[in-house]
Each structure stands twice: as C-alpha cells, then as structure tokens.
C-alpha cells in the first residue's frame, strides 16, 4: 500500500494575520490563536485544510507567566504531520474559551476533563460537568497552585526520602485537620448536601417516547456499573431504557481516578517510565514507547538500531496479546461463558513469558529507556520468540478465528449492531481498530511512521461494515499483520548496542514541548510533555485511547438493545487504568 504523506506545513499566520502568531517560545511549535477567533480558525482548519481528526485537547497551567493555555492537536486521517494551535488566556477566574465541540465532537469528554482539572469553562459545550472527579469536588487539581491533602513538595525526589532515606509520615508533617479548607461562609453544621448526580440525570432526560395516545411510556433508568460484571472494571453507564431499548446513555467515570498526570508532573522523567505501565496495564510495552518517544523528541536523541527492532517486536507482541484477550473477553460479553477467554489466555501467557525474560515482569514491564531499551534480549527469549512467531501463533490465531467466526448466534449478535459511520467515527476522534472498522484506513504506523515502521511491509486492515462484526474482524486480521511484521523484524534484526550511551539516573531534558504518539493496540496513545529544563516535566498529559473512544458510546448504543450495550462497550476495548487515569 503506497503512502502519500504530505509534509507541507501550513502557515496559519499568513491566513489570519490579525489573530494568529507563530509560537516562538524555545522548543515550541505551532500557532498561538486569539480566543475570540478560535471558532473561526478551527472551522477553517477543519473545513478548508481538512484536519479532520482532533487528536487531543489539553490544558497547560503556566503559573509563573500567569497564563492558562489550551492546546489543540489536529491531524488529517489521510496522514501527515499534525497541526498544533494554542489559545492563551489570563490566569484569573472565570476562564472561558469557546467550545469546539460543534467542529470536532471528539472534544466532548476532553473539554469536560479540562474543566474538571483546570477549571476552564467552555461556553457552547452542552453538558459541561466534571468528569474524573465528582460534582462538588473543591478546586481543580491540575492547577499548579492546587495541593493535595498530604502535600509535601512540588517535585520529587522528596527531601523526606532522599538522600538519607529517613521516612517521615506525610500526615505528621501535615495533619489532616490542617488540610481542610472550607469555602468562605461555609458551615459544615448546617450544610444540606445536594444530589451531586442531579445534573447527570437531567442531562439524560432529553428523550421521551410518546405513543399515539399521547401517553408517555414508562422509561427506566438502569445504572450499569460501577459494580457490574461486564463494564470491565469500575466504569459506569447510566442507561435510559424503553423496554429493552436504549433511549439515552451517559458514561460516568473517574472511580479509579488518581490524577495520574499530577503525579507524573511531580516525578522525574525516568520515574514516569514504570508509571506509564499502570495506564493500560495490558500493554505496558506500548505505553512505554509512546512516553519514550515524546521525551526522545525533546532530548533530540537517536534510538539505537537494535533497540528499534526490539521495540517493534515488543510492541507487536503486545498488540497480539491484547487483541487475543479482547476477542476472548468480547465473546465472553456475548455470553460464551469463558471458554474463548481461556483459550486466549493460553497464548497470552506464552507472550508474557517473553516479556518476563526480557524485562523481568510479565505485565508491568518498564522496559524502554530514552534512546533504547533497558537490557538486551536474551538468546533464549529470542528462540522462544522465533518458535512462537513461526510455529505456534499463526495456527492458533486461525484456530481462534474458526472457533466462533461462523457461528450463527455470534453473527446475529454482531452484524449490524453498534453502527458508527466513518464520518461520525472521525468526528468523535475514534482511533485504532474502532476507526479502521468504520472503513477509515488510518494507522499511525503508516500515517506518521514512528520508530522504524516505514521499513516493514504490512497492510492497514479496514472493514467497510462499521459494526461489531467489522471490529471483530479488524482485530483478528490485525493479529495476522502483526505476525507479518514480527516475521520481518525477527529475520532482519541486527546486532549492536541497545543504548546510545551509558544509562544515567537523571536525564537532562531541554525546555520545549513534544507530542509522542503511537498506534497502541487500543488506538492512538499520545504523551504530551512540556519541559522547562528542570528534572521534572512541567506538563505530562496522556492522550488515552480508552478515554476518547468512549465519546462515541452513546451514538453507537442509542436504539440498540440493552444486551448490545454490553457488546458495544466491550468492542471499544477499554481499560479502566487508562480511562480514569
């Protein structure tokens, strides 16, 4: 498949000379856009320049400059580099930036996240509620001047632990009562709590079904989750049902929220590497890579040749095991007890064996380093890998395909269910297998190759059906393509060093910004890192595919049956560690 990648950069400042200036801070790229012209410029970028995929929207708090910034990263689904533009506003409440939800509906959850974590309001957003914290949470935790209850210091390593290692309990330094801050005029004694979920339930009540007699049919609200066997963790969806039909749906999340990004900003650069493992705990190898990519861009270092190959091998292995488990869990969601799942786990264990041999851990691998990987691949692991790639996996994947692919019941459950057109999929920022199952051949490995993916021969798998059937088949076929890449990588991997220089505990990262994104098994995984030259990142943002792919959940579910909701949610392939962060 030929790639036509346009590398022409767009000069926004000549098109909008009054409203746009180039971002000329050191190490920064992109354009600074006036707040009042945002909608106009965004519409132009979307309609005229064809940047149809809003990859990420995120906030940055420049406390020393008294500025708040929102960064938009947009890409073309036909491939090529992205376009960054930013809006800066003075850092004083109320902060307001018009919502771009009408231009890119994919901004929905991300703008809610910025409101939640940074306190920037988006007028024009129809349902601007908190998303990761609860309604009624005091403050906006990602702001640099917000401090957690057991706040010690701005950055790690904390003096209490380092260098002497004398541990002090955080609650001794900062007793709990001293941390309670009440808003002015607040008296806990005569406070009557309001229902924090009121806004949620109001936002659901936009549909009523009236039959011809004018009678209102009774609708019931069912809370699927947070404790429910098929929401894959503590995800919750509030579903309005008319009989068995889904009328309206809102995802509720944040039960596993730990403010990953704030902790990430406290950590040093290397501290964050094992920390990315905990996002999507199925694919720590992929998470590592995306983070390493962003920091390597900032540091401007090259990855050694052998490491590039090892990275590709690990990343494709993790894709195979992720898709295998996905197929197993998906069939489980459709009611096939656990047989397919256990069959999938059998193969997954063999892949995890290899991970264990190279990194020492089966799931939390912490294997990548800036410029390479932490240690070389043992010969025994390489032998195992060869055996797996050439002898075992091809047959097993086919066997898996045969297990149920032609089953009447399965087909009736997946064909035509959860329809999401290509247009809607792009608009709601779907990425990964979800987008490709809607017939859009967008794969970052091809669209903007990272690592050494431009050297390998593989197909971008798409299906035209846009339903669950397509999502099922895209993933099965992607496993075959991953095997193709693996075969090429295994046969051509060179000998050589795995790190460009001696490993250090503290890397020096020059000031600037970088967005590293990879095609993780679940979709586009991006890390947006801003450095101000200090040992800790100033901003560490995760563009989580699980989180953003949820945007289209309501669109896919409305009109389907409640049993299909489970399957549709399962097909998105979410991991709560990444969704809630």
């Amino acid at each position: 498949m030929a790639t036509t990648v346009s590398t022409k950069s767009v000069d926004l400042s000549t098109i909008f000379p009054d409203a746009v200036i180039a971002d000329e801070r050191k190490g920064y790229t992109g354009w600074l856009v006036e707040k009042d012209n945002l909608i106009e410029i965004a519409t132009y970028v979307r309609e005229e320049l064809d940047y149809d995929l809003l990859s990420s929207v995120t906030g940055v708090d420049y406390l020393p400059e008294e500025k708040m910034e929102v960064v938009y990263q947009v890409y073309k689904t036909t491939g090529g580099p992205g376009l960054f533009f930013k809006v800066q506003i003075p850092r004083e409440d109320p902060m307001e930036i018009p919502s771009v939800i009408n231009i890119w509906p994919g901004a929905d959850l991300q703008e809610r996240e910025i409101w939640d974590l940074y306190g920037i309001k988006f007028p024009g957003h129809p349902d601007l509620r908190r998303i990761l914290t609860w309604e009624g949470f005091e403050g906006h935790p990602m702001r640099k001047d917000w401090q957690e209850p057991f706040y010690e210091e701005e950055t790690k390593p904390f003096k209490s632990r380092w260098p002497k290692g004398e541990h002090i309990h955080a609650e001794e330094i900062n007793p709990y009562h001293d941390n309670l801050k009440f808003p002015p005029k607040f008296n806990p004694e005569n406070w009557t709590p309001t229902d924090p979920e009121e806004a949620l339930y109001t936002s659901l009540k936009k549909f009523t079904t009236k039959n011809e007699d004018g009678l209102e049919a009774e609708q019931i609200i069912v809370n699927m989750g947070p404790q429910h066997p098929s929401t894959h963790g503590v995800f919750r969806a509030v579903v309005v049902l008319d009989g068995e039909k889904v009328v309206s749906l809102k995802p509720v999340m944040g039960y596993l929220h730990r403010n990953h990004e704030k902790i990430g900003e406290r950590n040093t650069y290397l501290h964050n590497m094992p920390y990315t493992d905990r996002l999507d705990y199925f694919n720590s190898m992929a998470n590592n890579w995306a983070y390493a990519l962003a920091v390597e861009k900032l540091m401007g270092i090259e990855v050694t040749e052998r490491s590039e190959y090892i990275r590709v091998i690990m990343s494709e292995l993790t894709r195979i095991q992720n898709h295998l488990v996905w197929v197993g869990i998906f069939l489980n969601d459709l009611g096939a007890v656990v047989t397919p799942l256990l069959y999938a786990f059998e193969e997954r264990e063999l892949i995890l064996d290899i991970f264990e041999e190279v990194s020492g851990a089966r799931m939390m691998c912490n294997y990548y380093r800036f410029g390479g990987v932490v240690r070389d691949m043992p010969v025994r692991a390489f032998e195992k890998l060869k055996q797996l790639v050439y002898d075992r996996l091809p047959g097993k994947i086919e066997e898996f395909e045969r297990l149920l692919s032609e089953n009447e019941i399965l087909l009736s459950r997946v064909k035509g269910i959860g329809y999401l057109s290509a247009k809607d999929a792009i608009a709601t920022s779907m990425t990964g297998p979800m987008l490709r199952a809607s017939g859009v051949p967008y794969d970052i490995r091809r669209a903007e190759p990272y690592g050494i993916y431009d050297r390998f021969d593989f197909d971008v798998v798409t299906r035209p059906e846009c339903d669950l059937y397509a999502r099922y088949h895209v993933r099965i076929e992607e496993m075959h393509q991953s095997l193709r890449i693996l075969e090429q990588a295994v046969s051509t991997i060179p000998e050589g060093p795995i790190l460009p220089k001696k490993p250090v505990y503290q890397v020096r990262v020059p000031a600037g910004e970088a967005y590293g994104r990879i095609e993780s098994p679940k979709g586009e995984l991006g890390f947006y890192v801003i450095s101000n030259g200090k040992p800790n990142p100033w901003r560490y943002h995760v563009r989580a595919p699980s989180f953003i792919n949820i945007t289209a959940l309501e669109k896919m579910c409305v009109g389907e049956k409640i049993a299909d909701f489970v399957a549709i949610l399962g097909a998105i392939d979410i991991v709560l560690g990444e969704l809630d962060r």
Partner: protein, 368 residues
C-alpha cells in the same frame, strides 16, 4: 388403601428426592469438571479425590453465608419465591418411570411414584407453573436487574411452552397414549421415537433448554447484562435453592427427553433385571446433560428479542408442521407399516427449511 402401598409410596418418594438432591450436588461437580476440561483447565480437584467432596464444601459454605433481604423487598414473596421455584422441579419427577415394574414378594412394584394416565399433561402443567418462582423472585426483590430478569423469563417460558407442548404431542401421537410408561413401552425393540421423529426430539430439546433457562437461552440470568437476573438479591441458602432448582430441572428435563424420545429405561436385558432400568436412565441422562454442558461451554448467548423471534417464527411453525407430518404418517402406516419412515424424511425436510428460516429470523434487525 393398605399400609404397604403407603409405605411403598413413601419409600419411593424419599428415594427419588434424595436421588435428585444427590444428583443436583454431583451435577454441579460434573458441570464444573466438564467445563474445565473444555476450557483446558482442571476444575475443582482439591476437596477429596477428583474434587468429589466439592459439593459438600459448597453446601457448607452456602449454609453459613449471611442471608440478606433488601430493605424494600416484598418480604413474604421474597421468602416464598425460592421455594416456589424448587418445588415444581421436584414434583415434576413424580410421573417419570425409572424402570419396568418388578416383583417384590407377592406384590408388583412400579418404578415410578405415580403412573398416571395423564402423565404427559402432568409434565406440561407443572412446567407451566414453574415460572412463578422466577417471576416473583424478580418482582419481590424490588431491583431493576431482577425485575428485568423476571419479566424476561416470564415471556420466554410462556413462548417456549407452546413449542414444548407440541413436542409432547408428537410423542403422544407416536406412543398412542398420554401415559409415560405406555410411551416407553411403545419404543421397544430399538424403535426409539428419536429415529422416527428426529426433528421432534430436537424441538423438544431446544424448548427444554429455554424452559430451564440454560445456555444459550439463559436470558433471565444473563450475567453480562443483568448481573445475575432474577436472583441478584438472593444470597446464602435462598440462592442455593434457586441453584438447586435449576440443576434439578436440568436433570428432570433430561429424564423427560430420555423417556419420550430415547427409549426411557429400555435397554438390553432390562426385562430380565428390572433394576437395570434406572441404570439405563442414568446413563441416558448423563449423556444428555453432557450435551447441555457442551453447549454452554461453546456458544454465545442469543439476544433476547431474537430468542423470542426464533421461538415464535421458527420453532413454533416447525413444531406445528412436525405434529401434522407425524399424524399423517401414523395414518399412512396403518395402510403399510413401512410408510412410518415417511415421517422422518418429511420432517427432516421441514427442519432443513426451518433452519434456512433461522437465518432470516435472527438477522431481522427491525424486530421489536
């Protein structure tokens, strides 16, 4: 009635109840071991040799578990529902003949508790009231998942009861009697009704799967959607009663299927040693149970609306056709005994036609 008859009845009833209880306990073990084999694992193997004491361990655990009653439940019905579910699953077994009569001293002992003339009708009527426990459990829990589960099962069981009844009619026609012993005796010399009417047996099997809410028709307790369906709010022994009812129903419907279509207690030398009857029944039941578990280990669940469409649009018309083919075939057989083999030929054609219709009924999206 003399006292020996009473004694005989009491002994037979006790034996049957204990057999069902023990059967239930070891069916759970059988299912778990078998599922494990299908899923390339081992299954329970710690308690006793081959995990044989596992059911006892489970029972002890369930007995000591705390029983919770939701605050807003309808207490009386909530309490009665598990009992109402369990009782039909036991009494339905009363009419099943487990073996030919045998001589004990100077009296003939039949190997069924009640050898009544309307045996098949009895099965039908008990099957039809078995739904109450589930519906009421769902309603009285005052929980949306449970309620949806209860309503689903009500609709499902009513729908499949018609098919079930028609499948019974096939056996009645072939056996020329409503008495279960007569039906079994009519299958002598290897003339099992499944050979004469394979499609009828298949219909009965599918309908019973739906009646006992087994995979792939386990809508009422569809874990992925409704957590646990009608018994979401039940815990401890109350839950165990539902569990028990489900597994006893599995045993009983397998027994019914064996009786009506697979020659019941008949087998080699059963006339010489009547006590071989229960052994043959046991073997047949175990094989039928194996198939049920096999299905569970393999297939996904049918979606609810498609389940109803399948029941009404495919299975019921097919059952009607099969009844008609059987009736005509029996009339023709009076002219020439070989004509009886027209029945399987024509019903297989009808079955093939219906399986083409499955495709349509399952794929129709607009069905509401």
């Amino acid at each position: 009635m003399d006292w020996t008859l009473w004694l005989e009845l009491v002994i037979k009833a006790l034996v049957l109840i204990f057999a069902l209880l023990g059967g239930f306990a070891y069916l759970t073990w059988y299912e778990r071991r078998l599922l494990a084999r299908f899923q390339s694992r081992l299954g329970p193997n710690r308690a006793g040799p081959f995990g044989l004491l596992q059911p006892i361990a489970d029972a002890v655990k369930l007995i000591f578990k705390e029983e919770l009653t939701p605050a807003k439940a309808y207490k009386l019905v909530f309490f009665l529902a598990p009992i109402m579910t369990l009782v039909p699953s036991v009494i339905i077994a009363a009419v099943i003949p487990w073996g030919p009569p045998f001589q004990l001293g100077d009296r003939i002992v039949t190997q069924s508790i009640a050898d009544i003339n309307v045996g098949v009708l009895f099965l039908m009527s008990i099957a039809s009231i078995a739904v109450y426990g589930i519906v009421l459990a769902g309603w009285s829990s005052n929980n949306k998942y449970a309620m949806l589960g209860g309503l689903r099962s009500a609709a499902q069981m009513i729908s499949y009861e018609l098919t079930l009844g028609l499948a019974f009619v096939v056996a009645i026609l072939l056996g020329n009697s409503m008495n279960l012993t007569d039906i079994v005796e009519a299958q002598r010399d290897g003339r099992w009704f499944v050979l004469v009417q394979p499609v009828g047996a298949l219909i009965l099997w599918i309908a019973t799967l739906a009646e006992v809410n087994r995979h792939p028709f386990d809508m009422p307790e569809a874990e992925q959607e409704l957590t646990a369906g009608y018994h979401t709010e039940y815990s401890g022994m109350k839950f165990a009663l539902f569990f028990m009812a489900e597994y006893q129903k599995m045993i009983v419907v397998s027994a019914i299927l064996a009786t009506l279509f697979f020659g019941g207690y008949l087998g080699p030398w059963v006339d010489r040693w009547p006590l071989l009857g229960p052994v043959y029944m046991f073997l047949k039941i175990v094989i039928l149970l194996f198939i049920m578990i096999w299905v569970r280990a393999t297939w996904p669940r049918i979606r609810y609306d498609r389940l109803m469409a399948f029941g009404w649009k495919v299975l019921l018309p097919l059952a009607l056709a099969v009844v008609m083919i059987t009736a005509v075939g029996i009339l023709l057989a009076e002219i020439n005994p070989w004509m009886i083999w027209l029945i399987p030929i024509f019903s297989l054609i009808a079955g093939a036609f219906a399986s083409l219709m499955i495709d349509r009924s399952l794929r129709r999206k607009a069905y509401a």
